[in-house]
């Protein structure tokens, strides 16, 4: 059989001399002939897919059903499908982008014309999808592959809830089912954990060092210097690459700056949308393809550009902020240089990294209180949709999703999704605080290891290899430490640095008022459904982001001090006059009233109106006290907290007006006040605020 398999390999590669890497045939043999369970730890590019496609083919030839490969790729399963095709394996993928063809594809599977089915863990966790696409062929599936298997372990840097479910599926696999788990990024602890959880699984591991990659660390604490460094360095780097950032906001800002500097860059993160694309998946696919075809110099991405993105000629990976662990750093930087002889990995460490990671660690798990409330609410019902949950729980959609995900992958779990509603199961539940504390401690240690990496004078590649317990280690001879000199300059030019600082200070952005009100939230104002166009605010502006490096920090300090200084008045006036072409221009100014701080915003607005030479009229009254709007976590609560709170008491003229507030959170206050002003006959309403405090943006 080995000869036969090797024959297939040779014709696939069109190379009569080709033979298996050590370990490849052994793995195939164990899976096909002994129905074993195998964990293969080999670096990316080693040829793990040769194993699973050949196994799929050989099992098919023995009369078994199709194989299923679970892999967290989004769009680039195309690569895999082509690779399978060369090995004579008919592979298809079922995902959200080809859901419309699902019927045809399922028919293909049922007609026994498909050898291999590629799905993402998210899809495999989706009950609707499983019922429709997987169950029709489930009984025949002959072989299961789990790619990026390190995600199974909660010791892993990248534990994912959907993999938790995958682990439970693997644990139920009877001894007569072949299972292959593969990863390129697992240290001993992770491997041991996977083995301990899955029981009878054999491990095969090879060297993980990457020989084409030159590493260097660059410590630049402020964002301005790092932006400047990027603008200076990128044009000097050959080829195309990826810049990893920690937040969506950073992805957008870095992208804007690079474009401002004439560099062909795009932002990439989960949920990113574009008017030309029907949904985020299509747009992300488009971005991935553009980078793949070298139509972009660089993609500025969060970790959403994740595992499985395989571009062999990726020439550089730059981290704008330090990642949370060495293993995730290895994995991200390891995307560069897979198929070329020279590639670069730069890690820029900044001062805000620490805070962001602390925030990530703090918000990684839901609070006991949130869990208890959710279970109480579900316990009283026979099932609630997410929208219904928002009414009962004052949590934002993201928090509710996270909470549901966290609980639903427990096994047994206190909640279960049944007919698109969440129900409480008869499982008593206690949060495992000890485990949460253990995982948080581990994340802290991992972060300390990253700090050590930034500081080290040793070979950088060896440092990474050690963290991965790679048994085959030696100095790389090509990192900045091995060479004893920098690969690129570590300081930006003064000129670029100045430009970057100015860019940051002019980083105001648009505010779009809300449209669709939560149903039943406005019995007094009687707003329902979509607010009509005639009541909507025009496009507004926000000067900064709360606590950001430009004006945001000043706004935060002054808000606490109870007085916004003139510098902010001038900055906002300048923005309105010089960079915001308002047509028709505003003829008067008003502001959002507050009972808690009755003077703060009116005082600021009066000075702003003075600068702009417009009359200030405080026409809005707050007639009823309400809970702070910033504590309202979802649309229903944000809307209903405002119902009947404001009244228009002054003289509203039919002219365009600037509506001023200090902080915009959900945007509902601005939306409601604009609607009230317009009901009272005002002209266009332009919302404007000093800072946004919307979380996670």
């Amino acid at each position: 059989m080995r000869e036969y398999a090797e024959h297939i390999l040779r014709s696939a590669l069109d190379n009569p001399q080709a033979s298996f890497h050590p370990g490849q045939w052994e793995a195939i043999d164990a899976l096909v002939n002994e129905r074993k369970k195998l964990l293969v730890v080999q670096r990316t590019g080693w040829g793990k897919s040769v194993i699973y496609f050949l196994v799929a083919r050989l099992l098919r030839e023995q009369g078994r059903g199709p194989s299923v490969i679970v892999s967290p790729l989004l769009a680039l399963m195309r690569n895999q499908i082509d690779a399978a095709d060369r090995l004579g394996v008919r592979a298809i993928t079922l995902n959200s982008t080809n859901y419309d063809q699902a019927d045809d594809l399922i028919a293909e599977i049922q007609a026994n014309r498909v050898d291999c089915l590629l799905v993402s863990p998210e899809k495999l966790a989706n009950e609707d999808f499983v019922t429709r696409a997987i169950e029709p062929v489930l009984e025949q599936i002959g072989f299961l592959v789990v790619d990026e298997a390190h995600c199974i372990s909660d010791w892993g840097h990248d534990f994912r809830p959907d993999y938790r479910r995958l682990l439970n599926i693997l644990m139920q696999m009877p001894p007569n089912m072949s299972v292959l788990a593969t990863t390129a990024t697992a240290n001993n602890r992770v491997i041991d954990d996977v083995v301990a959880q899955l029981g009878h699984i054999e491990v095969q591991r090879g060297p993980l060092m990457r020989h084409s990659l030159s590493l260097q660390n660059v410590v630049l604490s402020d964002q301005g210097s790092r932006l400047a460094w990027l603008a200076d360095t990128l044009p000097k780097l050959p080829g195309t690459g990826v810049i990893y950032v920690l937040t969506k906001r950073d992805a957008q800002q870095v992208r804007d700056w690079l474009v401002h500097c004439g560099i062909n860059a795009q932002a990439y993160y989960s949920g990113i949308e574009h008017d030309d694309f029907t949904d985020t998946n299509h747009y992300r696919e488009h971005l991935e393809a553009r980078l793949l075809n070298n139509e972009l110099k660089v993609l500025v991405a969060t970790t959403a550009l994740g595992m499985g993105y395989d571009k062999p000629d990726l020439a550089f990976v730059i981290h704008y902020q330090a990642p949370g662990s060495i293993v995730s750093y290895y994995q991200q930087v390891g995307r560069a240089g897979r198929g070329i002889s020279q590639a670069y990995g730069f890690l820029l460490a900044g001062c805000e990294d620490q805070d962001i990671h602390e925030y990530f660690r703090r918000s990684a798990f839901p609070s006991e209180n949130q869990v208890q409330k959710l279970l109480d609410v579900l316990g009283e019902s026979d099932g609630l949709s997410v929208v219904e949950l928002q009414r009962h729980l004052n949590l934002c959609q993201g928090q509710i999703d996270k909470l549901l995900k966290f609980l639903s992958v427990e096994s047994p779990s206190p909640i279960y999704k049944q007919d698109r509603k969440w129900v409480r199961t008869p499982v008593s539940y206690q949060m495992d605080h000890e485990q949460i504390a253990r995982l948080t401690r581990m994340r802290e240690q991992e972060w300390q290891e990253v700090q050590a990496y930034v500081q080290t004078d040793d070979c950088l590649m060896m440092f990474l290899g050690k963290a991965l317990d790679d048994p085959y280690l030696n100095p790389c001879g090509r990192c900045a430490n091995c060479l004893g000199q920098t690969l690129v300059a570590t300081e930006p030019s003064l000129d670029t640095a100045r430009k970057a600082c100015q860019f940051i200070r002019h980083a105001e952005f648009d505010f779009q008022s809300r449209r669709q009100v939560a149903s039943g939230a406005f019995p007094k104002y009687n707003f329902t459904g979509n607010l009509p166009q005639r009541l909507r605010a025009s496009k507004g502006k926000i000067l900064s982001r709360w606590n950001d490096a430009a004006w945001g920090r000043l706004v935060a300090d002054d808000k606490h001090a109870g007085h916004f200084q003139d510098a902010l008045v001038l900055a906002m006036a300048e923005m309105i006059r010089e960079r915001w072409q308002l047509a028709p221009p505003p003829q008067w100014v008003t502001c959002v009233p507050s009972l808690r701080h009755p003077e703060l915003v009116p005082d600021f607005t009066m000075r702003l109106a003075g600068q702009l030479g417009l009359p200030f009229r405080a026409v809005i009254d707050k007639v009823k006290d309400n809970a702070p709007q910033k504590l309202q976590e979802n649309r229903y609560h944000q809307c209903s907290n405002l119902d009947g709170i404001f009244a228009i008491t002054g003289d509203v003229t039919n002219e365009p007006v600037l509506l001023v507030d200090d902080i915009i959170d959900s945007g509902w206050t601005m939306t409601v006040l604009a609607a009230l002003l317009k009901q009272y006959g005002s002209g266009d309403v332009y919302p404007v605020a000093l800072a946004s405090a919307a979380p996670g943006k």
């Binding site: 169950e135 139920q172 009877p174």
Partner: protein, 457 residues
């Protein structure tokens, strides 16, 4: 995580969600029984079949329906098993097979190989071996019947019996909730949608509290299927120690279930009287059911289990017949009911435990009821109402002298064990209720002594 044994049994016998692959329809209970027997006889275990080459273990197996090909495609359903079990276990569903400690023992005892190989369940699996009373009734019941069922369930709980029922709407649900609402216990044997029922508000907190077990021999997501419902009925009776039918039509699930129980004599079958002219209740009594005439609060549930028992003479058991004391004219029939029921004593070791100390004096093995000292029993029974019913029968039937043999063929006493009859007669004679008369110096006869019984009845 399931054992390899459970995995193998599930692969061979369970339906999983989704399309069935080819001809791999899971083995029926009977097929499984046959196959499992063969494996046992050949020193193989089901889990042995999970080897890469399982056919080696089946050397000599040949069967028209259970072919090697069918076994092969059943055993190859590992992915379906794993995906289904992951989902079900996540929702708190567990699986037990016949070899598990919590598998209902009564079921194995009464149904033998016909007992299902696998139960899916939710809640407290230890309840499956608790003594229970089955309560059944048609889904279309009156408000009155539902109130009665609820009270019946509550009173049953008060007597420390679990309510065993089918979890269907109507009588089933009312009886179960009646018990659960007073912190009693219940076992629901469902024919469909275990998963959904377990997540419902009405059952959830009782499952969490450990007072309820919901089980189903069918896939937890199975939707309604009349065949499944019928098959399930027998498990309700066989997991209980007596059964009460609150309301039955003259066809349908309850009707068929009760008749099946009467036919097989699994457990004493009690029927609640009803005003409903359409009901099949009276017909079911004709077929061998007993009227249950008392208000729920007056029922002695232990008596339903063992109304008049030859081998179980403990005071507790005998007093149960009280429940059958009618307030109206058909006293004799009531007595008849009790005595007849006594003869239906199930061969059941679980009951022996309930009998307390006196159970040690007897070692009832199989159907043969060995009685160490009938006289001793009679003494124990003397204070008991059942004995009084016997006396009542004597009053009318032994006005003229009767031999023991003649008494025994009386319809009212036809099913009473001879040893019991002799014990009662001896005691009645000793107490002076009857006189021992020797007719023509040959046979010993007994005659009611009216003068000494003036204050008795």
């Amino acid at each position: 995580m399931l054992t390899a044994h459970t995995q193998a049994v599930l692969l061979l016998t369970a339906h999983f969600p989704g399309t069935q692959a080819g001809d791999s329809s899971p083995l029926t209970n009977t097929e499984w029984a046959e196959f499992a027997c063969w494996l046992k006889d050949h020193d193989q275990r089901p889990e042995d079949l999970l080897a890469a080459d399982f056919a080696g273990y089946l050397d000599g197996w040949s069967h028209k329906k259970i072919t090697l090909e069918r076994l092969d495609s059943l055993l190859a359903r590992g992915s379906a098993l794993a995906m289904a079990l992951e989902k079900w276990q996540r929702a708190g569903i567990w699986v037990i097979t016949r070899s598990d400690i919590n598998y209902p023992k009564l079921l194995k005892k009464k149904l033998g190989q016909k007992a299902p190989p696998v139960f899916f369940g939710s809640g407290n699996s230890r309840l499956l071996n608790q003594a229970g009373i089955a309560m059944v009734g048609s889904r279309r019941s009156t408000e009155q019947d539902l109130r009665y069922s609820r009270e019946l369930g509550a009173c049953c709980a008060g007597a420390a019996y679990a309510v065993v029922s089918g979890g269907a709407q109507g009588v089933d649900e009312s009886a179960m909730l009646g018990a659960l609402d007073v912190d009693g216990t219940a076992v629901g044997i469902l024919a469909k949608e275990l998963l959904r029922s377990a997540n419902s508000t009405k059952y959830r907190r009782h499952l969490i509290a450990g007072n309820l077990a919901l089980v189903s021999p069918f896939n937890p997501e199975a939707s309604f299927n009349a065949g499944n419902a019928m098959q399930r009925n027998k498990y309700i009776y066989c997991m209980a120690q007596a059964a009460i039918s609150v309301h039955s039509g003259t066809s349908g699930g309850t009707w068929n279930g009760v008749r099946e129980n009467l036919k097989h004599g699994w457990v004493p079958m009690w029927i609640k009287p009803t005003q409903d002219p359409e009901a099949g209740n009276a017909l079911l009594v004709k077929e061998g059911g007993h009227w249950l005439l008392d208000k729920p609060s007056e029922i002695d549930f232990a008596g339903l289990v063992q109304p008049a028992s030859v081998p179980k003479p403990s005071g507790e058991l005998m007093s149960l017949a009280q429940s059958a004391v009618p307030a109206n004219g058909d006293r004799l029939e009531a007595a008849n009911i009790s005595l007849q029921a006594a003869s239906e004593l199930p061969e059941n070791d679980a009951l022996a435990v309930k009998c307390g100390a006196s159970s040690q004096t007897q070692s009832a093995t199989g159907a043969g009821l060995k009685v160490p000292d009938p006289w001793q029993w009679a003494l124990e029974a003397a204070s008991l109402p059942l004995y009084e019913y016997f006396l009542r029968i004597l009053k009318y039937q032994a006005a003229a002298p009767k031999t023991i043999e003649e008494l025994q063929v009386l319809p009212q006493l036809a099913k009473v064990h001879k040893a019991q009859l002799q014990a009662w007669v001896k005691k009645a004679a000793k107490d002076g209720h009857i006189d021992e008369v020797s007719l023509e110096g040959k046979t010993v006869c007994y005659q009611w002594n009216e003068s000494r019984n003036l204050n008795l009845l």
